[in-house]
């Protein structure tokens, strides 16, 4: 079957989709957007978390056909999404159209660290959303497999709750498993992003 939907602000079309494919599979194997991760494929780890019409969901549990005419934001589009949100509604939610990656760009996706020199002091490389930057700065990334899903979930938390308590953070991220960090530095990262957000307001 064919599925048309919006990914990271751009209209996309997937052809020859098997009806049992998940949104996660379509993103990873057909859209060239492997940032959303396939850790459990049963909704028990959160690594594949994306925004579907603004709502965080496990993309492994969304049938590809269910996203017809809907909007998806993945970790690859998170920085643009956050930037657009900040530009249009400082402190508020993203509107219906956010900036994004074109399919062309997406298909040419490459691990491209070679042309990107990261700054070892701040981790600063390209344009990152505040939560992405905070994850690097707080040491919240080890193997990084859980990171994309956590970032999407944490960004959404900070969108609706600018200064969450620790209990709020724990509850909001309770659907995202991490096996490396013991979560302490993930908590640090969310606290850091919230504090930085507060400073800029």
């Amino acid at each position: 079957m064919r599925v048309n939907f919006t990914v990271n602000g751009r209209q996309q079309e997937a052809d020859d989709v098997w009806e049992g494919e998940s949104l996660l599979y379509v993103l990873r194997e057909r859209m060239g957007l492997p940032g959303s991760k396939n850790a459990c494929e049963q909704g028990e780890c959160g690594s594949c978390t994306v925004r579907l019409d603004g709502v965080p969901v496990c993309s492994c549990l969304v049938a590809a056909g269910q996203v017809q005419d809907r909007e998806v934001v993945t970790v690859e589009g998170l920085a643009d999404y956050a930037k657009h949100r900040e530009d249009s509604h400082p402190g508020g939610a993203c509107g219906s159209v956010c900036g994004g990656t074109s399919l062309q760009e997406a298909r040419q996706w490459q691990a491209r660290p070679a042309d990107r020199v990261t700054d070892g002091q701040t981790g600063e490389g390209g344009e990152l959303s505040p939560i992405q930057q905070a994850f690097i700065d707080a040491g919240a990334v080890q193997c990084g497999f859980c990171t994309p899903g956590l970032l999407v979930a944490a960004d959404e938390l900070l969108e609706r709750n600018a200064s969450p308590s620790d209990a709020d953070i724990r509850e909001a991220l309770s659907g995202n498993l991490c096996r490396c960090t013991g979560y302490e530095k993930i908590l640090d990262a969310v606290r850091l992003a919230a504090a930085r957000q507060e400073e800029t307001v």
């Binding site: 079957m1 098997w18 009806e19 049992g20 998940s22 494929e41 049963q42 909704g43 028990e44 959160g46 978390t49 709502v55 965080p56 969901v57 496990c58 492994c60 549990l61 969304v62 049938a63 056909g65 269910q66 017809q68 979930a153 209990a167 509850e171 909001a172 309770s174 659907g175 995202n176």
Partner: protein, 296 residues
């Protein structure tokens, strides 16, 4: 496999009539796991995401009509007053991501004894509105669960909504899992005080082949409350009544040993949850809710 995408409820019913083996999919929580893990290859998937009315709810005089696909997150946030037991149960469902997608229609459709919504629905009392091209009917929740992962739906019927009695008194819900979040129930217990009818209803999950009510416990408690004049006096429930209620609730369970827990533990835990949730609801009824209601 074919993917059917009805744009309206009528189209969905027509599709189900034409393809009775079609598997409805809404939140995907159960169906997609079965597909991803190669446990199931339905001939047709019937997507209900485009049927807007399934995501609607209406608060009436007596009942809340809750669309089958209203996400658990919405129930938690919007219906806490009208459906406190179900709101608490919704909060225990899997993870925030799952709660954003799943609704009671999925729990009812799968009819797994471990579905988190069942004990709350049984305790609150409700009717399941199902429909086919032949017409619609309301199935009382007590007649809905017919066997292990089986329900009273005909093969051409779909679940449209649940008509849940609005809370006239305190309700509670507890679930035991071996993790503090994102966990399937080892067993669960729901309780609702109905001061309007001077009755108490219960629901037990994961401790029998189907979700059940602890009927003997309810009958005992109803009689004890009535005889003791508790509804009017709002006296503290005596420990012996609570103990007897808990024992009868425990006795209602008919659990098995499995990887999630032993049968003995389930019987034990149902009793503990019955005693505690009775205490919380009754204290709340007495006007001491603040100290006994959990917050999160």
């Amino acid at each position: 496999m074919d993917f059917l995408r009805p744009a309206s409820w009528e189209e969905a019913l027509a599709a189900k009539a034409e393809h009775p083996t079609a598997v409805p999919i809404a939140g995907g929580t159960d169906v997609m796991v079965e597909i991803n893990f190669d446990h199931r290859r339905p001939e047709y998937l019937l997507d209900l995401n485009r049927v807007a009315e399934l995501r609607e709810w209406a608060v009436g005089e007596e009942t809340v009509r809750l669309g089958a696909s209203v996400p658990y997150t919405t129930i938690m946030e919007e219906l806490r007053t009208e459906l406190p037991g179900l709101a608490l149960a919704s909060h225990t469902v899997a993870s925030p991501q799952i709660r954003n997608r799943g609704g009671v229609g999925g729990n009812l459709g799968t009819a797994s004894p471990a579905g988190d919504a069942h004990p709350a629905l049984l305790a609150a009392d409700c009717e399941v509105e199902v429909e086919s091209v032949r017409g619609s009917r309301l199935i009382p929740i007590d007649e809905f669960y017919t066997g292990v992962k089986r329900n009273a739906l005909a093969e051409d019927e779909l679940i449209k909504s649940v008509h849940i009695k609005k809370a006239a008194g305190p309700q509670q819900y507890s679930k035991v899992g071996t993790r503090n979040a994102m966990v399937i129930a080892v067993c669960a217990f729901g309780i609702a005080l109905h001061p309007d009818t001077r009755t108490v209803r219960t629901g037990i999950g994961s401790a029998a082949p189907t979700p059940i009510r602890a009927k003997a416990a309810e009958e005992f408690l109803n009689a004890a409350l009535e005889e003791g004049g508790f509804w009017d006096s709002k006296k503290i429930i005596t420990p012996s009544i609570a103990k007897q209620f808990a024992e009868l609730a425990s006795g209602a369970a008919n659990p098995i040993d499995d990887v999630r827990g032993t049968a003995n533990y389930r019987r034990h835990a149902v009793g503990i949850m019955a005693r505690r949730t009775l205490g919380w609801t009754w204290e709340s009824y007495r006007g001491n809710g603040r100290s006994t209601e959990g917050v999160a």
